[in-house]
Amino acid sequence: MAQYLLSVLFDSNDLATEEEQAAIDVFNERLQTDGHWVFAGGLASPSTATVVDARGGEPVFTDGPYLESKEHIAGFWIIEAPHLDVALRLAAAGSKACNRRVEVRPVLGE
């Protein structure tokens, strides 16, 4: 089994509509029953982010996201799947449910 990060890509700060949220709930339940669920969450808008850099000793705090871009990560799932074909199927179902594009990235193994 491997883990994959499914990032939800979106270009506005609008939250999921009621319909979308309902579909996401159904999808999440399916992930849990089928044993793919590890963790998931929606993220607050990038404007609420703080970047912390403690490489120089004292931490430096910067308001805002590390990268200003039109698209950002609006939420994510971490799933468990035996291989990419399964992860891609789940990502397709997730993309349909939340009505947004989804990026699939493998989490590095041990």
Binding site: L84, D85, L88, V104, G109
Partner: protein
């Protein structure tokens, strides 16, 4: 006495994919499978001339490559226990109803939709076709190092993202087979009509390779009508290759081609495949329809004897499967023969293909037939501006310069 080198070349053509595919499954590592297969062939080149060709060359190569791989992996494991990352084997519960062959797994892995199209093409030519990296680089006019990186990167993604070495889910099979056919057709087209002005206009090595790979996929998926359709389409297109470019390097259109120079054997094989598909009674897909259209063309002794109503009827069917403007442009060319250039021009003018050289070339030819020389000249100019293939450009310039002066 047969030349051993010739035997090795033939065995390479016939056995490469099988050896790589078998090793990849046994070892769970595509990279090592490829490397050790290459090494086994190098050993064959060294030994067979003196030792003689083994009775079963494929088995000899597989065993030799496998032994080399085991030695190699032992060394790797000693060097770094964690280094070995296994290829993910996925076995679908229902095995396709076709031949269960490791080569099919290899084809599906190399043509996986998670890989960039150019990576799929390069990997397929390397892993399934057995072409060397320098050969592939030359074929696509890419620096050898860049092509090497492209293949290495694709192999790294297969490992890290765990692209499975297996046959896709049953529901995904039609889409995945289509994906494989797209790769094969792109390889063929690159050989048939290179897009780059710096390249040879027609390169038989690539078209031959595409046909060979498609034959292999047909062996692996014998029940798939579109695989047969694509093979027929390639054969019927390849058959006309000898007549397609003139001695001076100019493209010769269907109308002016010396039909006596067409390869009758390929045509017969292509026609047989098309007839077989028609007899199946199944609704034809895109490639089968394109093959059927080419069958009508290759059936006619000259352009005028072509059964144009049949061609238009097939294009009508194709438009239903693929309503893209390019299909409608090709349909209009057939309509010109059936209903006249004015009817065809009205259809062409509606198509949103301003950036496509063949849109302008088609308009130019239709306008010429309608004796609208000025407009025709302007259309040739636009087509020449956009065309990339040297043989095509030469043809268009000559046609333009034949127009009556203003």
């Amino acid at each position: 006495m047969t030349d051993v080198r010739e035997v090795i070349t033939r065995v390479h053509r016939e056995e490469w994919a099988r050896v790589v595919a078998t090793l990849a499954r046994r070892l769970g590592d595509l990279d090592v499978a490829e490397e050790m297969t290459a090494e086994a062939f190098a050993i064959a080149v060294e030994r067979w001339p003196s030792d003689g060709v083994p009775a079963n060359p494929g088995a000899w190569l597989t065993t030799t490559a496998y032994r080399k791989a085991i030695d190699h992996l032992r060394r790797e494991v000693k060097r770094d226990e964690k280094h070995r990352e296994a290829l993910v084997l996925s076995d679908t519960p229902e095995p396709l109803g076709t031949i269960d062959d490791d080569r099919l797994r290899l084809v599906f892995t190399c043509c996986h939709p998670a890989l960039a199209m150019e990576a799929r093409i390069a990997l397929t030519l390397r892993m399934v076709g057995g072409l060397t990296v320098p050969e592939i680089a030359r074929a696509f006019l890419v620096e050898e190092a860049a092509m090497g990186r492209r293949i290495t990167r694709a192999k790294a993604k297969i490992k890290a993202a765990r692209i499975p070495y297996g046959v896709p889910f049953r529901e995904d099979i039609p889409a995945r087979v289509t994906g494989v056919l797209v790769v094969l057709f792109l390889i063929f087209n690159e050989g048939y009509l290179a897009s780059d002005p710096a390249k040879e206009p027609v390169r038989g090595d690539l078209t031959a390779e595409a046909i060979r790979l498609t034959r292999l996929v047909r062996v692996l998926l014998p029940a798939d009508g579109e695989v047969a359709g694509l093979l027929a389409l390639m054969l019927l297109t390849e058959a006309r290759r000898p007549a397609r470019v003139s001695a001076s390097g100019e493209l010769v259109t269907l109308e002016d081609q010396d039909r006596g120079a067409w390869d009758r054997e390929l045509i017969a094989e292509g026609h047989a495949l098309v007839r077989q598909r028609l007899a199946s009674g199944q609704a034809p897909g895109r490639y089968q329809l394109l093959a059927a259209i080419n069958a009508v063309h290759t059936d006619a002794p000259d352009l005028r004897a072509t059964d144009w109503s049949q061609v238009v009827a097939l294009y009508d069917q194709l438009v239903r499967v693929d309503p893209s403007p390019i299909v409608r442009l090709n349909r209009a060319i057939a309509v010109a023969e059936l209903d006249g250039p004015d009817v065809a021009l009205a259809e062409v003018d509606r198509l949103p293909l301003q950036g496509y050289h063949l849109f302008h070339a088609t308009r130019a030819e239709l306008l010429r037939r309608l004796h609208r020389s000025e407009e025709s000249r302007a259309a040739y100019d636009a087509a020449i501006e956009l065309a990339g293939n040297t043989a095509e450009t030469a043809h268009l310039i000559r046609r333009r310069d034949q127009l009556a002066g203003p």
